[in-house]
């Protein structure tokens, strides 16, 4: 056996006269970042391919007579690096001078003014005066799509947008056209973007070349209050930072890269907040008087509901409570407590979108089997079954793509139709819903060779087939983790908080009989139907048309229109609390704005309980969450993580659930990138950009 010298584990170099050590293969620009020395750059963006086009990061290195770009130079043994030598400083200054020759000085009207990287760099490194006296090249601004606008004059051609679109999101909608100084960014097909409309290109733009139509010219960055909260739409639980001015959300982004999604957001996260300001928002409680819903005061509405509830309770009548996929954990917990201890009923359910209960049961006794978001980026191999991730779970799709890009993860996609994962998957198969388990056997050999596997599955895998899937996974002989895909912002939390008749919070069997959602609607003896943030009567009617219906919602939905009392509820952006995402991580909601006349669902429960004379405990989100931490298994999460806006993983029950769960009721709504359940209707942006809705396949 030939002896080989082991590669060095540490590299010694000199940076600005200081001896430093680093790992082999470190890029010079990353080394300086680690050491807190700024080497400015426009085109370098961690995680994406290298460009070396902006030439801002030129530094002096002893091994080269020329200045070298820090973004492509790897630190080698004995390298002597100067980042602040007169030559480097002068080079930076001249690059900025070149950049500004054709860049308009319209900072006062530019949306990026105040948070512009070019502005910052010119302020710090640039020359005080311009020597350019000739006429600047100018091209007029043009829209790329209903949300993306492009101003070629401001563009510095750093290609960040092109890369984030292609490499990050796998969309490849943007490219470069023309040559030399006439070069500009353009949609790859036609003159309009036919893309996810995620707006990542807008956020990643270091200057004001790409701007968003929803935010353009409305305000300035320093005029806004920035509130970090969790996106109200799908189950992925992206952290989003809302820019708020005068109690209005002006924009959403996550430029500080905090949270589990770093800077990822899809169109719903970045632009879909506009439902919050929709003119149809309910702003007053309504009571059915003489057959019509009429605005009344809170006290009158609460009194009416309390009286009816007490009356039905006293008469031993039948309650049916429909809970939400979007309300916070605190609200869910308080609601089930209200139902079970306050009203003495177990008839509580919600629209189930993923069979988490069976998964937890099937995995009983095994450690570390439920994947977290970080696992998606770290796993060596992943298997996607029956879900178009890029449409339904964009963050999960993004993380897998990122994993493949950075770690060459092997992705397997088994879906009924073509998906975006096909482009880079190790293997793909077109398998109809319900036939996946049989088809998986064909991949057994290949999958068993992987060092580890992460299985994501949609709503077609439930009950018996889910148990078969777990059997399959556990028989591979490799570490396997699972993610049961669910639909909405707190679908996972709804199950954890026991919003089903068969379970109390924390997967504890309730042991009492209770009506499920379809059973409530089919029950002709039902006295009261209490709907919180759901729309069960959207496509069907009730068996008992005389039932007293109470609805808490943001809008007058089909269910609310049928109600006897409607309470205007606050949205997720207007309340404090926590939600649990698809991978079981708890994140905080922060109230960013307030809509006049609304109350949070938690407050409505509390006031109603008080009005009814019930003792349900105080209804502040903090107090209720404290109760959850003490009473709900798996939710004793680390508070500092939550408090600082992080995602705290829940530790799920590790034992048999011992309950016959109604897996047959699990049914995903099949939302796309451009839909978000009943909220879709109230988001103007989602409605204007959805060029090709309904691309998603659904079982017939």
């Amino acid at each position: 056996m030939a002896t080989t010298t082991a590669p060095p584990t540490v590299i010694n170099a000199k940076l600005n006269g200081q001896d430093i050590q680093t790992k082999p293969g470190t890029l010079l620009i990353n080394l300086t970042k680690e050491l807190g020395i700024e080497v400015p750059a426009f085109c370098y963006y961690e995680g994406f391919s290298l460009q070396a086009a902006c030439r801002m990061c030129l530094v002096q290195v002893n091994s080269s007579p020329k200045l070298l770009p820090g973004c492509t130079t790897i630190v080698t043994e004995g390298m002597v690096i100067e980042t602040e030598s007169p030559l480097v400083v002068e080079a930076r200054k001249s690059m900025l001078e070149f950049l500004l020759t054709n860049h308009p000085l319209d900072c006062p009207v530019c949306d990026k003014g105040g948070e512009c990287e070019l502005q910052d760099m010119v302020f710090k490194y640039g020359a005080g005066e311009s020597r350019f006296v000739d006429i600047k090249h100018h091209e007029p601004e043009r829209p790329f799509s209903p949300v993306v606008y492009y101003d070629p004059a401001r563009c510095i051609l750093c290609y960040r947008c092109v890369r984030v679109c292609d490499e990050g999101y796998g969309v490849n909608a943007l490219g470069v056209v023309n040559r030399g100084v006439l070069s500009e960014i353009a949609p790859n097909r036609g003159d309009q973007l036919n893309c996810d409309e995620c707006g990542a290109c807008i956020d990643i733009c270091p200057v004001g070349a790409l701007t968003s139509n929803t935010y353009r010219y409305k305000t300035r960055p320093w005029e806004m209050k920035h509130v970090g909260t969790t996106c109200a739409h799908c189950s992925n639980g992206c952290k989003t930072t809302l820019g708020v001015r005068n109690d209005e959300i002006m924009r959403a982004n996550n430029r500080d890269s905090s949270g589990l999604n770093e800077e990822f957001l899809c169109i719903k996260g970045r632009f879909g907040f506009d439902f919050n300001h929709h003119p149809d928002r309910l702003q007053s409680p309504m009571l059915r008087i003489d057959g019509d819903l009429q605005p009344v005061s809170w006290s009158k509405a609460l009194a009416a509901v309390a009286a009816k509830f007490n009356e039905v309770k006293a008469a031993g009548g039948k309650f049916g409570i429909v809970a939400s996929n979007r309300t916070s954990n605190e609200e869910n917990y308080y609601l089930q407590k209200f139902a079970r201890t306050g009203l003495g009923t177990n008839n509580i359910d919600h629209a189930r979108t993923g069979d988490v209960v069976t998964l937890v049961d099937a995995l009983s006794g095994k450690q570390g089997k439920l994947a977290t978001m970080a696992d998606l980026y770290q796993t060596k191999a992943a298997l996607v079954i029956g879900s178009d991730l890029a449409q339904q779970h964009p963050l999960l799709a993004y993380e897998l793509r990122r994993n493949w890009r950075h770690h060459q993860a092997r992705i397997y996609a088994m879906t009924p139709g073509p998906v975006r994962e096909d482009k880079y998957a190790a293997a793909t198969a077109r398998v109809a819903f319900g036939e996946e388990i049989a088809a998986l056997e064909g991949w057994r050999e290949q999958l068993a060779k992987e060092p580890e596997l992460l299985i994501l599955f949609g709503d077609s895998i439930k009950g018996a087939s889910l148990r078969q899937l777990v059997d399959f996974g556990e028989s591979l002989g490799i570490p396997v983790k699972y993610v049961a895909l669910v639909d909405y912002a707190n679908s996972r939390g709804a199950i954890d908080m026991g919003l089903v008749p068969e379970l109390h919070p924390g997967f504890v069997p309730s042991g009492q009989p209770g009506l499920t959602l379809p059973e409530m609607l089919d029950d002709s003896q039902l006295d009261v139907l209490w709907v919180v943030g759901a729309n069960p009567l959207a496509n069907r009617s009730q068996a008992n048309p005389k039932a007293f219906v109470v609805v808490q919602d943001l809008f007058l939905t089909a269910t609310a229109a049928r109600a006897d009392v409607v309470f205007p509820a606050a949205s997720a952006y207007e309340k404090k609390g926590t939600v649990t995402n698809v991978t079981g991580e708890v994140q905080r909601l922060t109230a960013a704005v307030k809509t006049m006349g609304t109350k949070t669902d938690l407050e409505i429960f509390g006031l109603l309980g008080k009005e009814m004379g019930l003792e349900l405990g105080i209804w502040s989100p903090d107090a209720v969450f404290n109760e959850i931490r003490q009473n709900v298994r798996g939710y004793n999460v680390t508070m500092p993580i939550l408090a600082t806006g992080g995602a705290a993983p829940t530790t799920p029950v590790n034992g048999k659930v011992n309950v016959e769960t109604r897996s047959d009721l699990v049914h995903s709504a099949g939302d796309t990138l451009f839909t978000s359940g009943s909220m879709t209707k109230y988001s103007q942006v989602l409605n204007t950009v959805a060029e090709r809705p309904g691309q998603l396949y659904k079982p017939v």
């Binding site: 006062p108 305000t219 320093w222």
Partner: protein, 168 residues
């Protein structure tokens, strides 16, 4: 002897003093007859603000919010809106839909004028803004805006109608 010296020096002082008095009597008076007569201002006097227009009659203000950012007493409130081809208010892409100055709070420091990149906000010479009703002290844009000059385009105009061109 001592008395004579004292008398002489006193007389000298009186003469000197009265000399100035009589000399000044012949000069034009500096005292202003305000409020009976109009007050005189130095050019750089910082009075109530005036929002300027450019040579085309468009508003100079592009709603960059820099005056509001510079204001130490936080008395400027702006809401921005986008110019369109149909309705062009300012020369830039953006204009101030709402521009309020709260004179309850304004300290006339002039920082807003200094911060303005388009020379849109200036100090006028109006200072008679005292009021018994503080709610009248929030000046709206319409009150501060310079009147359009005769023969120039007015406040807002339809560029398509007036120029016959399709925008800029």
């Amino acid at each position: 002897m001592a008395n004579l010296t004292e008398i002489l020096s006193a007389a000298k002082a009186i003469t000197k003093g009265m000399g100035i008095t009589f000399g000044e009597m012949l000069q034009p008076a500096l005292t202003e007859a305000y409020p009976d007569g109009p007050p005189q201002f130095q050019e750089r006097y910082r009075g109530a603000h005036v929002l300027k227009r450019d040579e085309n009659g468009l508003e100079k203000c592009v709603a960059c919010f820099l005056c509001a950012a510079a204001c130490p007493s936080d008395c400027i409130y702006i809401e921005a809106a986008e110019n369109t081809d149909q309705l062009r208010i300012s020369g830039g892409e953006r204009y101030a839909q709402v521009y309020n100055i709260d004179y309850n709070r304004c300290i006339f420091c002039g920082y807003c004028v200094e911060a303005c990149p388009t020379d849109a906000i200036t100090h006028g010479h109006d200072f008679e803004i005292a009021s018994y009703d503080t709610s009248t002290l929030i000046y709206r844009k319409e009150k501060m805006l310079e009147a359009p000059q005769a023969g120039k385009a007015s406040l807002a105009y339809d560029s398509q109608a007036s120029n016959g061109t399709s925008g800029h």
